[in-house]
């Protein structure tokens, strides 16, 4: 019982009422991979934009690009990995 309360109080202390983590360190501990993905996507976007400025204009293109980088690509990578591990076992 005490242990549960301790865990509960730890979680409550780590999360603010608005749902965000209480400190940047905690946010990074939980989501550094996601952050790295966004930063990498941002760096590539900037590089493409600098070389082809036309790429920087349409908002919809930026949204599509972001969705491909942070949703579709990781999903595909996970799928391919799952297949390779399955075939490796089989």
């Amino acid at each position: 019982m005490r242990g549960e309360r301790a865990v509960e109080s730890f979680i409550l202390a780590a999360v603010r009422p608005d749902g965000s983590p209480s400190s940047l360190r905690e946010a990074l501990a939980g989501g550094w991979r996601e952050l790295a993905l966004y930063l990498a996507a941002g760096a590539v976007y900037v590089a493409i934009g600098v070389s082809t400025p036309e790429f920087l204009f349409p908002w919809a293109l930026a949204v599509g690009y972001l969705l491909v980088c942070v949703v579709a690509l990781p999903f595909l990578v996970r799928r391919v990995r799952a297949r390779t591990t399955r075939s490796g076992r089989g």
Partner: protein, 306 residues
Amino acid sequence: MSWAAHDLEPYVVQKHLGKKVAFVPLLVGSYAPDLLSKWFVYGVTLVGVELKADNPAQFHRGWPGAGFTHSLTFGVLVGLLLYLVWRNKVVAYSFVIGQWAHALTDTGDTVGSMLFFPFTDHLFAVGAWAYAGQTGRYVDAGAYFSGLGFVWDGIFVVWAILSWRVLTRGYFRTTVMAADPFWRWAGRYVSETTLVALYRASFFYGVARWTAWLIWAHVVRSFTFDLRWGGPRWVPRIYADDLNAAGGAAPACRCPGCCSMTPRLGFYGAVAVCAFAKGRTSSVRDLLRTAPRRRRRRRRLTLKRR
């Protein structure tokens, strides 16, 4: 006009108002004034025919033209319309906040915006950076990122990064989704990861674009920095007075906005009001309050040591 501020303002507002605002109408409001007019300002070529405004500044900000979209009244009217359709107060005033933020931000350049249209078609301009929309996209970008415009956008980039909490998944789940019916509806069809990516997209767009344009303007192309008021001076600029005079008003405007103060003084006044408002609502005021206490504590400690 601003190149990144309109993308980032909604996140800053979201940070300060939390569940009191709905993010999507806020974002749409922030983009609304330029949604239907910007393409015609720079011009597009469709099936070999070039569509472009004869007088881009007049069309973008003035009357006759699409300048009414940059008035405070336009935001209120569309907000009322949204309320009539959705019967949701939060959605309506979130749009108004977003649209007002855009209209007020655009007063920063030399053309400004018709804030009080239809009561007056006078353009209110602070004149901090040059309006050069008539020169085309690329020269306009170069000019904007060489004058005080990019500094203004830089303030929003920093402010939005400091508001990093609003970008976290937990915040999105607890605060953004709770206040905005759009995300709850969209959540039925797509995964949470997709929703969060969509929510963060404008932040990504604003910050990445600000960085890319800055590099493009000064590394790839060699536009000269000119951080003087109303600069850069090397670009042909259009002033609010040009359009105000063209609209039939007296060449030297006699409205209270122009008579009572110089635009620069007005800008400093607006910054002071913002700083005061910020101090009233959060940490700056607390800091000022607690500072004398800290000094007293330090004095006590030093006296004890002696």
